[in-house]
């Protein structure tokens, strides 16, 4: 598909020593400019799928392409086009917010005035411009999450992967993060997002896929999927499809 940001065909991932595949023959497509929610219980295969698409691990079999570039042959080009916001605050606590972002920017080849402007603009948006000289270890959980988001979008990626970006943050920070994601999306950035927060996903996503036991069990526009399964909201749909059994 010419308009696809991501194209996944028959993707399988079996970890070394594992008997069950973490991702079992999944196929899906994500349109450019969409906000795609990859939802599923713990151990469903969300993070594995994202890790394959970010080039962190290799699929056992199947094909995947990002903006028309095959993951197998163009990983370096793809890495320049994508941004990743991991679930962990993957930054350096003893460095200041500015030093962290300068390092990340440099790693994407940004430097000088251009980088400084990007850092200042993004810090302004997430409300942390006055704390740019403070070490990250002095930040609250919500502030760290916001910096974590900025670190993933500093180089203006065309596709942004977010792994539970609002986990454990206060309502205000979560609101700011989701608003910023909307803003990025309006500017043309395709967002692929995983979360356990169904309400947030329902509000944010233009398309979803629910994955369980490594397989996609449903996908489409949230309203259409809910209607199809006769549920009022995404949480009901999620429980209906994945069950109420506790997951580790």
């Amino acid at each position: 598909m010419a308009n696809s940001a991501i194209e996944v065909i028959n993707l399988i991932k079996i970890y070394k020593g594992a008997s069950i595949p973490a991702v079992n023959n999944i196929s899906f497509s994500i349109e450019q400019g969409s906000i795609f929610g990859l939802l599923g219980p713990n151990g469903a295969g969300k993070t594995t799928t994202l890790s394959i698409l970010c080039g962190l691990i290799k699929a056992t079999s199947g094909e995947a392409s990002v903006l028309g570039l095959s993951l197998n042959n163009n990983i370096h080009e793809i890495k320049q086009l994508i941004g990743v916001v991991p679930q962990d605050i993957a930054l350096y606590p003893t460095l200041t917010a500015y030093e962290n972002l300068r390092y990340i920017g440099n790693m994407y080849g940004l430097s000088g005035k251009d980088l400084n402007t990007k850092i200042q603009d993004n810090l302004e948006i997430v409300g942390l411009s006055s704390q740019s000289k403070q070490r990250l270890e002095t930040f609250s959980g919500g502030m760290k999450r916001r910096i974590n988001l900025v670190a993933g979008i500093l180089h203006s990626p065309k596709i942004l992967f977010l792994d539970e970006p609002t986990v454990g943050v206060d309502v205000q920070s979560r609101n700011l993060i989701t608003e910023h994601l909307h803003l990025l999306n309006k500017k043309g950035c395709t967002i692929i997002y995983t979360s356990h927060l169904m309400e947030e996903a329902e509000h944010l996503c233009s398309a979803i896929a629910i994955i369980d036991h490594g397989e996609i069990i449903t996908s489409g526009e949230p309203k259409a999927v809910m209607k199809e399964h006769g549920t009022e909201n995404l949480e009901q749909l999620f429980l209906k499809l994945t069950g109420k059994t506790l997951r580790d």
Binding site: C54, G55, V84, Q87, D88, A90, S111, R135
Partner: protein, 423 residues
């Protein structure tokens, strides 16, 4: 290049803000150098150059007193103090431990010796019928002439015997020379102005049963401890380095780096460069301690040889070996606690084997063989070659090569381990 520069800058900032790490990297080895050099100064001197405090009370103005004095001085094993004291006072000084040995040469000892020898010669010449014109005073012959020697109570018997026999040798030589001089005089033979020196007819030649290197002969507390603890400090960086790798992995920064464009090898080179820089700063500071601080504490000044380039090459290769080892530990171990415990213990063991605590040449043979496998020994012996032998780059190349091979082996194992365990 930007990625490399940025990684070095980031690592340096993190290191400089880690107060605990700075203490481990800089304060600990500097303190160890100073303490160990001070503690080991006496044993090293004991081993090689420590002089025994000796009190000499020379009441004689003649040949006997001056010959014993110069004999003791020339032996170079005594630190001689000359005082004019009574026997009672000397006894007190030795008893109190101020001196290990005291020698009292009585007043007019040379005159009395000359008189005794003279009467002995006359008596012998008369008995031989060569001269009967001289009268013999038997009381002069039997007059007592004693040198008094006092030893501290803890002196070993064997040491006492060797000192007494050494003094006996000196006095015998003077007796023989005086005898010869008087015989010459009585028989009217030329005696070269009375100053003819007797040569020993039999020489004693010491043959070492164990080969002793020049390094061992020149080694003192400073020459041993400064390079030893410098190498130790450089290798102790494995704790910070492995900790940094594990922290990056645990906190997700490693994963984030992997999602960025470019090769992780650039990041790794940046990390190695930063830690290597720290190792080199450590090395310079430690050598400064040996050059400028220890001499002010009454210890010998560190001699660093003639080749700064060779020292730099050894320091760089030792630093690379240490950082390579740090990366391996950081890759294999899952937690910071595991890595720091194993890192510290393994470095201490390698240090003990490598002759950091005590020089390798005082170790038993089988331990010496094991030392050959310690990278700390390779670094230390390279420094010894440069510092004690005035060696050049060529002389340390085998050690440098071993250190570099050690570094690449560690990096290779880390690479393959990482590849197999993060699929």
């Amino acid at each position: 290049m930007l990625r490399l520069y940025s990684t070095i800058q980031k690592e340096m900032l993190i290191l400089l803000r880690d107060k605990g790490g700075l203490i481990i990297m800089f304060i600990m080895p500097m303190a160890m150098i100073t303490l160990m050099a001070l503690i080991q100064d006496a044993p090293f001197r004991d081993y090689q150059e420590m002089k025994i405090p000796l009190l000499l009370v020379n009441n004689d103005n003649g040949n006997l007193g001056s010959t014993i004095d110069s004999g003791l001085y020339n032996s170079k094993i005594f630190e001689i103090t000359k005082l004019s004291l009574s026997t009672k006072e000397v006894k007190q000084k030795v008893k109190s431990g101020d001196y290990n040995i005291a020698i009292i040469i009585p007043e007019n000892a040379s005159d009395l010796l000359n008189s005794k020898v003279s009467h002995f010669v006359t008596k012998k010449l008369n008995e031989a019928g060569l001269s009967d014109s001289l009268k013999i005073d038997e009381s002069k012959l039997t007059a007592e002439l004693s040198l008094e020697i006092l030893f501290s109570p803890d002196t070993k018997k064997s040491f006492k015997s060797s000192i007494i026999s050494s003094l006996k040798q000196s006095t015998s030589k003077i007796e023989t020379q005086t005898l010869l001089k008087l015989f010459n005089k009585e028989l009217k033979l030329p005696d070269n102005g009375g100053n003819e020196k007797m040569k020993d007819f039999v020489d004693l030649k010491e043959i070492n049963t164990v080969e002793t290197t020049v390094e061992e002969l020149k080694l003192n507390s400073v020459q041993h401890n400064v390079p030893a603890w410098t190498i130790f400090g450089m290798f102790f960086i494995v704790i910070s380095m492995s900790g940094s790798i594990i922290k990056e992995r645990d906190e997700g920064s490693y994963t984030r780096i992997l999602t960025m464009p470019g090769s992780y090898i650039t990041v790794l080179i940046g990390k190695i460069s930063a830690y290597l820089g720290i190792c080199l700063i450590q090395c310079v500071l430690m050598l400064m301690v040996g050059l400028y601080i220890l001499p002010n504490m009454g210890l010998p000044v560190l001699i660093i040889g003639n080749s700064i380039w060779a020292i730099t090459i050894v320091a760089v290769s030792a630093g690379l070996a240490a950082t390579g080892y740090g990366i391996l530990i950081g890759t294999i171990f899952k937690t910071h606690q595991q890595a720091s415990t194993f890192g510290a213990v393994s470095v201490v063991i390698l240090a003990a084997l490598g002759g950091i605590w005590v020089p390798v040449f005082v170790m038993p043979e089988y331990i010496r063989m094991m030392s050959e496998f310690s990278p700390l020994f390779w670094g230390l012996s390279a420094f010894h070659k440069l510092f004690l032998n005035g060696g050049d780059i060529q002389s340390v190349l085998p050690n440098v090569l071993k250190l570099l091979v050690f570094c690449f082996i560690n990096l290779g194992i880390a690479y393959f381990y990482n590849k197999n365990h993060h699929k």
